[in-house]
Subunit: 351 residues, 2 copies
């Protein structure tokens, strides 16, 4: 298979900083789209993967799965896109396309889904590489259309942080008059607030920090409950239809379960790490409450979200960085020192 | 308020055996039905309550919430029942009737629901007493009609063991072609198998004991998976739409979560005790799987179940005992030495 060398940022080991390297991108097959990458969001998973926190990284790794750019070349059989189209790529670049999940537009639950990085590129017989690079080549079925009215950089985080919160909001039927709570105000949490608000829900932010009240309200929350304040917590007992828990480390879910209404569901969307929570089942039994997990979203659902963002003029709140600052950005991300997502301007790589 | 003294079986302390005692039953108010009790099922909760395992028992306590009998008297405003009707009473004898849960026929989740025993009888200003007694007086709205074609003793456990498994089967929309698993083969488990089978589902029993295979199949299971056999467990990974977990003590839920299909739900209906389970969230996230709790069922849903049992000729598999043998029965129940429910023939109390 023909390929070409492009510039990227990645790392060859868990201990090393990310640095510039060359990678191969395959030539377009009949169904492929080649994309010139303009912006790539920086996700917590990028850092976890670069540092092998999940014990599954194959090196070298080039992270990045919140990709926005323009089509520069199409394969002979491509029908959905043409050169010059503004497009996006999220966390998935392929799946088996034949299993029940794929048939149900739930490619993210396909046992053979191919991650945008760290997956397996069957054409090149090598690992897939992500969006910290000049270009990417992706099957058109896994390419998304970006509404032209939206800021290109601001839309990048929608591809992971956005869809990860959108999918459970839609699956658990959040709409007008739903009572939704969001736990944690980071990349995912701030998108969850914006999206639930735009869906017409009454939105509550749970935060441990009184400093987050002003920001939570500005993003669209109707109230902020300080989760360490017993009186405030008591005021929302039995209240919520859906809670989106975005906190990406081990924490106690039980205080939130009591705030669910009858038939309510708490959805975990962050990776809680090896210290999993104890689950107190009595409050679940006494109100037919559920704890669920949810993973990103399917391709059709991600397109639905991008179109929704276009219609409601929703983008992520971001801080644009140069690729050369990615290691500093990782350190700041570990301290939650970002409001609310870093996005790499890929011109910095091409310069 | 007028009342009359009737014979019952109960206990005045956590340490004492149950023995015969006298209790007061109120005279019928305009909306009340007086019931001559023929049979009363013996539920694990009876034992927990008698021994104050949940730390909330007020003594003396008279257990029993799987009650079948005939109407012997009705209040002036009763419209649903007449003297001589075959009726039943389950776990609830009242609720607030005005909250959202009550309006939604979910009286079991009303914060003010009144238990058949250990609740508060507002007419007598005293604790409610259960079915281990000659008679009971209950508001007609909490009385159920029993299909005449069914064995009276066999229908008693439907009022708790049956509805506890029926409610989640219906809420999670089990029907033809659903793949359902049942964890544990006791009073609840054997009803869950019968009901899921009658709903048209493909039913699997999870059991730790190879001795249960024959019985599980005889009750209607299509297969029995020995949960300690890794190969058998691997054969059902990603398989089930709904798992009804009936095991009434602390145990590890995680091996079962992996056997749920995408969007599948494991429903805990047993009280797991103070040792609550660790929840490994990754398999939940990777397949949008849920863990939920469910508590008995509402009055309308319990009537629906009794009618369903009448239509499908379903009763519980029982062992009939005399009230004088209740303490022995409790000891055998603790050793799971019952197939699958004790039912007290209340003639033994009246003799």
């Amino acid at each position: 298979m023909e390929s070409k060398v492009v510039k990227a940022y990645g790392t060859a080991s868990a201990e090393a900083d990310l640095k510039q390297m060359n990678i191969n991108r395959r030539s377009v097959t009949p169904k492929d789209v080649e994309i010139d990458i303009h912006y790539c969001g920086v996700c917590h998973s990028d850092l976890h993967f670069a540092r092998n926190d999940w014990g599954m990284t194959q090196y070298p790794v080039v992270p990045g799965h919140e990709i926005v750019g323009t089509v520069t070349k199409i394969g002979s059989g491509v029908s959905k896109y043409k050169v010059g189209d503004l497009v996006a790529v999220g966390c998935l670049v392929d799946s088996c396309r034949t299993c029940d999940n794929c048939k149900d537009d739930l490619e993210q639950y396909c046992p053979q889904w191919v991650g945008t990085y760290g997956g397996y590129d069957k054409h090149l017989d090598s690992p897939t590489h992500g969006g910290y690079s000049e270009t990417i080549v992706v099957d058109e079925e896994f390419v998304l259309r970006v509404p032209k009215n939206l800021d290109q950089a601001g839309i990048a985080p929608v591809l992971c942080a956005g869809i990860t919160t959108w999918s459970p909001l839609k699956h658990w039927k959040v709409g007008k008059n739903s009572k939704v709570a969001v736990v944690g105000l980071g990349g995912l949490g701030h998108m969850a607030i914006k999206l639930a608000d735009a869906l017409g829900a009454h939105v509550t932010l749970f935060s441990r920090s009184p400093n987050k009240v002003k920001d939570g309200l500005a993003l669209g929350a109707d109230q902020v409950i300080i989760s360490t304040d017993e009186e405030q917590m008591a005021s929302v007992m039995g209240h919520f239809d859906v809670i989106i828990d975005t906190v990406p480390y081990a924490h106690d879910l039980n205080p939130y379960i009591g705030t669910l209404a009858t038939n309510g569901t708490l959805v975990v969307v962050g990776y809680l790490g090896p210290l999993d929570p104890m689950l107190v089942t009595v409050p679940m039994i006494m109100g037919r409450r559920s704890v669920a997990g949810s993973l990103i979203g399917g391709i059709a659902e991600t397109q639905e979200l991008l179109d929704f963002c276009g219609k409601h003029n929703i983008t992520s709140d971001i801080e644009i960085i140069k690729i050369q600052d990615i290691n500093k950005a990782y350190e700041r991300m570990l301290k939650s020192d970002v409001q609310y997502r870093f996005v790499i301007d890929m011109k910095s790589l091409k310069a």
